[in-house]
Symmetry: C2
Subunit: 116 residues, 2 copies
Amino acid sequence: MATNIHDIAYTLQHALKENEDFIALQEQYEKVFANEETKVLFEEFRNMQMELQQKMMQGEQLSEEDNEKAQAIVTRVQQDVNISALMQAEQRVNMLVMDLNKIIMQPLETLYGVQK
Amino acid sequence: MATNIHDIAYTLQHALKENEDFIALQEQYEKVFANEETKVLFEEFRNMQMELQQKMMQGEQLSEEDNEKAQAIVTRVQQDVNISALMQAEQRVNMLVMDLNKIIMQPLETLYGVQK
Ligand SMILES: [Ca+2]
Ligand SMILES: [Ca+2]
């Protein structure tokens, strides 16, 4: 093999660091975390998301209270321009990362797909 | 940006296809699936693994029967030279893939780590 596979991964890491969507995400994170109020709301939102995800993964039903609490935070988050922009930036980077993963993992997909 | 990030991902895909651990995995899969008896045992093992994983993810306790059934299949699998070799080959490729992912995702790790 001419090129080391790890070297190519480092090249990809470098390209991600310079990717415009990743840079936009970084900048938007900084904006959200520079403001104490926005930071607290964002962290509240993230904690709520993780709690509910954990419940659902364990097959637990969400209570009326859970749903109301979630709805209240989501409403506040949607009204915050900086957090909304951060979530959009995250979505773009998530889509990029999923694309990259799909490309890289295609040999494994093919291997497992064929053998089924 | 000089190089397209997707092009680099395709270069990595190509390197994975030519990686000796990946090629060994492919060959070992072919061996296991070429023999009907080995194939059936391997599929039984995989199905059992997935069933138990699903139970555990849903927070269910494994029954005495589950454990006995699992132990019986694991014993048979361990005695099969080709399946054992396949599992070792899978482990090597899994480690490679985890290494690559860690390298590629480092910018995101840093971003989320710093902001915590
Ligand atoms: Ca602060
Ligand atoms: Ca066959």
